[in-house]
Symmetry: C2
Subunit: 383 residues, 2 copies
């Protein structure tokens, strides 16, 4: 192994981005060795001692910018030449954690972008404020309802959509398991649900949005997005765990679509469950969603049927809302156990700049969904 | 909670597929509760007690087919109506592990497909035998070399390609970090490397393949695949951890491409590192790659710089090679520490039906790459 001290350079120059890795280990020497392994694995993935090219050694191999003891291990800040990320999210994530994701005891805690990456990663088109403007809801916490369960017919789902819209939901979205199954095929479902929201809006004078789930295989994703817009959907939902953050960005950047993008957490747990290696929930649900242009990030709240902690949820919220580059804030959307009983506490923790996702709990007050949506809406108006 | 015993049905009917979950828990009652939570979460994601529709309750909610004690927990076999998977990989994975991936102590151990899913998931086009035919290597273990490190120019990478091809590599692939960075832009690199292999093949009479890395954002992936074929690439590499298994399938199924597909493990560690929840390496590297049509699956071997065990690697190999449905076998490609010293042992463990990936270790014998490739080739011929 080379003497790595020579690679600890004090200055991050402007075309490098920096990843903060938590390394679970006990000694400084061990941490240095782990950091060096990441510096090489995530860049040249090649025995350093065989490299003769000085530019590759100096600029392309990751640079250890800082290595500090923290609870239960060390925190390494490693910077990478922005050009390595190739101006796309796929390759950016490949550099951040590609092969190292297969090695133990490494957690992604933070990523600092560089000016050149910020030319490509521009954040949300609408963001929290843009969604508030679309919805004409300037201040209060917002309400998102879900049409479900899977297995219901288009007729049943559109009646449900109508009830939610009349009752006072701000956004109504497809269940994340609704794709284009025979129970309620995509085009039929989207057309009828979009129509139901439009009719309800005409009655109430509100601007409720209907989000169609467009996660699908390959080209089907963009085809569904275009079709959804044509059929009247006013927002789109996509799960980066299923289709990649590049799909979120493709939807968000598309000038012809120009619809709010809602990101769903499905199949992202592999990276965030407390285990041997992974990506902090605040980076996945927070930073990466905002970076790729999600206007709203649905995440699983503490205290429900998922196991995230209140501290993790607060970190997610901060990464979605706090000033960062010239990005708009993304709207945080906690879900998974948002009940009538817990709502006052959740509002206290999450604040007003949030859209609560009420799924199955919308049914807990009985089968009159318009009344139930109205009840939740009033809770939020009076908070 | 409903009495779940009524949902334990003995018969899996033909249009249901079955997922085997390992549940880390101590008592049978606990395991039943966890299984029930998955049965509901992965299907209706809705309070079961509020469902009135009998069809949804009987057919759509996951069915617990078996629940057996195993070491450190229980194994639950849960079957799902195939229609839930919506005839696409994205939604299939959504049902297998979508939201449950965000809950602790759950591991995907196995998936049994149904006849209706097998209409859509047809496995590899070439597979191991097809690749052996293309390469005209009927029996011996094969050799895959990698052009690297990133930072080299197209001229340097194509010279390397030429040396590997003349020396005796069977497949030469782009490093997984080579996309379209300025160091060696995609079209220029692919054209020159493909040409180098073609020239070497003309000299040697061999049929070495050159695999271009096409992992990229959104539509760029398929555009690069088409362009790579046009420029002379004779195989394609893609990383499902970066772009999804749907991208692997899209490449594999495309009749105009009709090239062997090599799957790379980057950014898949979140799901496989021993932690709180995840997907067994044999399912990700083995079953899911074969299902989505990867002709070759690169995985990280035991004993190198990654932490997978010999048992895990054997399970991966079995899922790639053993008779399964009417799928062709996929070629296993162990990498990450395939050295001269370890090769005899690795051949003993992995057998002959394998393509060893030699990356940085190709350089360990000095800078004469043609000789180095020849050396590895001879080791494999004489094994």
């Amino acid at each position: 192994m080379q003497d790595i001290d020579e690679l600890i350079l004090s200055k991050v120059d402007s075309d490098r981005f920096t990843v903060t890795y938590f390394l679970a280990c006990t000694t400084y020497e061990e941490a240095k060795k782990m950091a060096w392994s990441i510096q090489v694995e995530q860049t040249i993935e090649f025995p350093y001692e065989f490299v003769s090219n000085e530019y590759i050694k100096e600029e392309l191999v990751g640079r250890l910018e800082a290595l500090d003891p923290v609870e239960k291990g060390y925190e390494a800040k490693i910077s990478y030449l922005s050009e390595l990320a190739g101006r796309e999210i796929t390759q950016f994530l490949n550099v951040v954690f590609g092969n190292s994701s297969l090695q133990p005891d490494i957690w992604i805690k933070h990523i600092e972008l560089s000016p050149s990456l910020l030319k490509h990663f521009k954040g949300p088109r609408f963001g929290l404020i843009g969604m508030r403007e679309l919805l004409e809801v300037p201040e209060r916490p917002m309400l998102q309802a879900v049409i479900k369960p899977i297995g219901l017919s288009t007729k049943e789902l559109s009646a449900m959509t109508s009830a939610y819209a009349l009752g006072g939901a701000d956004v109504i979205k497809d269940d994340h398991g609704l794709t284009t199954q025979g129970f309620a095929p995509f085009e039929e479902r989207v057309a009828r649900c979009a129509e139901a929201v439009k009719e309800a809006n005409a009655k109430t004078g509100r601007n409720v949005l209907y989000a169609a789930n467009v996660s699908g295989d390959g080209v089907a994703l963009m085809e569904r997005a275009y079709k959804a817009k044509e059929l009247g959907a006013t927002a789109l939902m996509v799960a980066p765990g299923l289709v990649g953050f590049d799909a979120v960005q493709a939807l968000a950047k598309d000038e012809h679509l120009a619809l709010p993008i809602i990101s769903h957490p499905s199949l992202s747990g592999g990276f965030m469950m407390p285990g041997r290696s992974g990506i902090d929930a605040s980076v996945w649900f927070g930073l990466l969603n905002r970076l790729s242009g999600a206007d709203m990030s649905i995440f699983v709240s503490y205290g429900g049927r998922f196991s995230f902690t209140i501290e993790e949820c607060n970190r997610i919220i901060r990464n979605l809302l706090d000033p960062l580059y010239d990005w708009k804030a993304s709207c945080p959307a906690p879900g998974g156990g948002v009940t009538e009983a817990r709502l006052p506490e959740l509002i206290k923790i999450y604040g007003k700049d949030v859209m609560f996702l009420v799924g199955g709990d919308m049914f807990r007050r009985g089968s009159h969904l318009e009344e139930n949506a109205k009840f939740f809406r009033e809770l939020l108006e009076n908070c």
